[in-house]
């Protein structure tokens, strides 16, 4: 799935997408841009998932990577320090807070982590997911890359519903392909749903 929106000012993009997707979650407007982006991508992706809303999901893991940490809100918090340092901005100055928002929304209580990587393609992300799978009983994974800077805003998430107790060889290969080659367009991929959201201003 690719979500594109044309002729929208960059600053309005996330709020416009929220309205388009007809989500009702007023807390969305309090979030920083990184959390909004991650939240929206997860929202579309998990709509079709087998997760029961409002039931705790201890066997779901959220493992994301990101390059610029929370730089967008860091810059805004730094600017707010001149007048009135804003506690509501400061709360968002950690990259794992986007995972916190997704966990609250979907009641996910399992393993969760953010890796900071130079680029989207990261072997570390797949290595870590596969290492976690050997030790922890996990049924579903929400994995991917979410990054928000002045120049680049991108979320690329995959939802994996495991077929067996451990990730199969094929699933592991798919995870490598997804995290290293950014192979999100593969139509034949049956093990996961992919959602891809990218800002396009024309």
């Amino acid at each position: 799935m690719i979500y594109c929106k044309e002729s929208v000012e960059k600053s309005d993009f996330l709020n416009e997408a929220y309205r388009d997707l007809k989500i009702e979650y007023p807390k969305f407007f309090k979030m920083d841009a990184l959390s909004k982006l991650a939240f929206l991508a997860a929202e579309v992706l998990l709509k079709e998932s087998i997760l029961a809303k409002n039931a705790p999901n201890p066997n779901t893991a959220v493992i994301l990577s990101n390059s610029a940490s929370s730089i967008e809100v860091d810059t805004r918090f730094q600017a707010s320090m001149r007048d009135f340092p804003s506690p509501s901005l400061f709360v968002y100055t950690l990259p794992n807070v986007m995972i916190g928002e997704i966990c609250i929304r979907h009641q996910i209580t399992g393993e969760n982590m953010v890796l900071i990587t130079e680029s989207q393609n990261s072997k570390s992300l797949s290595d870590i997911i596969i290492a976690i799978d050997q030790e922890v009983e996990i049924q579903h994974y929400l994995i991917g890359y979410v990054d928000y800077t002045e120049e680049k805003q991108e979320a690329l998430l995959a939802w994996i519903e495991k077929q067996e107790k451990f990730l199969t060889q094929k699933e592991q290969a798919e995870i490598y392909s997804f995290t290293i080659n950014q192979d999100y367009s593969k139509k034949s991929c049956k093990f996961a749903h992919f959602f891809f959201i990218k800002l396009i201003i024309i």
Partner: protein, 377 residues
């Protein structure tokens, strides 16, 4: 099996684990009172590094000036841990993991004079330079999960070692207290203007601290005596609130239960908790510990000695927990006098001797995250 084969702590109490452990066993706290521009001249208590001391140590290690004070602190800690081991940091069998919340964030402050390029604020960039200093061939893994970063990094290292991806993992946790961080915690009204008092009835906020620590983990045992193993770890999320912990301690409780599964809790000598001395945190931990039926197990917090060192805390406190097990000595909880949590857990006030072989380390942080790990002889 994962072994802790070498470690180091760089803190205001000293540049080696031994200096830190013995200062703490002498009940020496690094927390001091300040009144300066770091907190806009509002008086505060913190455990801050002496910059001249860092530079002096740095100059005896390298004549390079191209490193920030955050990177210098991390490199000094890693170097010292390496000196006490025979691990080759340049080997492809060795991986670096850096744990930090804000790294070089002070570089975005327009009032902070520096000559570094703007990309230095990116944590991956800073980690790459640290890895390159030791000529390691892999891109380092950077974990930034608020205050559980350090414990998360150690758990991740163990899991990667378990699947034979590497033979050794060097985990370094480091954080500085910049105006950014100080002002942020001040804005949340989370700071105490007095030395912090974990779990005490007078607990009223945390003190921030600076530091770095390193643990080298290996899937091979190097010494037969005194070797500490990382048995298991687990990470959870409260799915409740971003900045306030769960009222039922759910996430921490879940993480404790998962980490202690199949483990005889009679073997637990103590729990080294997060114990920040904020009312929210301390009460939540007491609830989770009681729910896990560990209310009789001695609980110790190290925040009264070193403050809350954020992304470094999990690594610093795991080093000290391991050394407690090695020496059979548990430091008392500095600042604690009378239990102030509604659930009365067994917080230790004075130094004591321990006999059991294992300890649980816990951490909780913003974003609702919790992590625990189990160490044993």
């Amino acid at each position: 099996m994962t072994y802790l084969i070498s470690d180091n702590i760089v803190s205001p109490l000293g540049f080696s684990t031994e200096e830190n452990f013995s200062a703490i066993m002498r009940q020496q706290s690094a927390i001091k009172m300040y009144n300066d521009e770091l907190n806009n001249h509002i008086p505060y208590c913190a455990a801050l590094m002496n910059q001249d001391q860092i530079n002096e140590k740095w100059n005896s290690l390298s004549d390079e000036t191209a490193y920030t004070r955050f990177e210098k602190m991390a490199i000094l800690s890693i170097q010292e841990a390496l000196n006490n081991s025979n691990i080759d940091p340049a080997s492809p069998d060795t991986l670096f993991i850096l744990s930090t919340t804000k790294g070089n964030i002070e570089l975005i402050d327009p009032d902070f004079p520096h000559h570094f390029s703007p990309d230095r604020v990116y944590l991956w960039k800073s980690a790459q330079l640290i890895g390159q200093f030791f000529e390691n061939p892999h891109p380092p893994i950077v974990i930034s999960s608020a205050c559980i970063s350090g414990v998360t990094a150690l758990i991740t290292a163990k899991r990667l070692l378990d699947c034979d991806a590497y033979k050794n993992v060097i985990v370094c946790g480091a954080d500085l207290i910049s105006r950014f961080v100080m002002t942020g915690f001040q804005s949340l009204k989370g700071l105490s203007d007095q030395p912090c008092r974990p779990y005490d009835k007078e607990h009223c906020g945390l003190n921030l601290g600076e530091g770095a620590a390193t643990i080298i983990l290996s899937n091979r045992q190097v010494t037969v005596t005194n070797s500490i193993k990382l048995i298991r770890g687990s990470i959870s999320n409260d799915a409740h609130h971003l900045s306030a912990p769960s009222r039922t301690g759910e996430g921490l409780y879940q993480s404790i239960i998962r980490t202690l599964q199949h483990f005889d809790i009679e073997q637990l000598a103590f729990i080294n908790t997060h114990g920040t001395a904020t009312v929210y945190n301390d009460n939540m931990e007491a609830i989770a510990i009681t729910r896990a039926q560990l209310q009789e197990v001695p609980v110790s917090s190290l925040k009264g000695y070193l403050g809350h060192t954020l992304g470094a805390a999990g690594v610093i406190e795991t080093v000290l927990t391991a050394h407690s097990l090695v020496h059979n000595k548990l430091p008392g909880t500095y600042g604690f006098n009378t239990i102030g949590t509604p659930d009365p857990i067994n917080v230790v006030k004075e130094n004591s001797n321990i006999t059991q072989p294992a300890a649980l380390k816990t951490a909780s942080g913003f974003g609702g995250c919790n992590a625990t790990l189990l160490l044993s002889k």
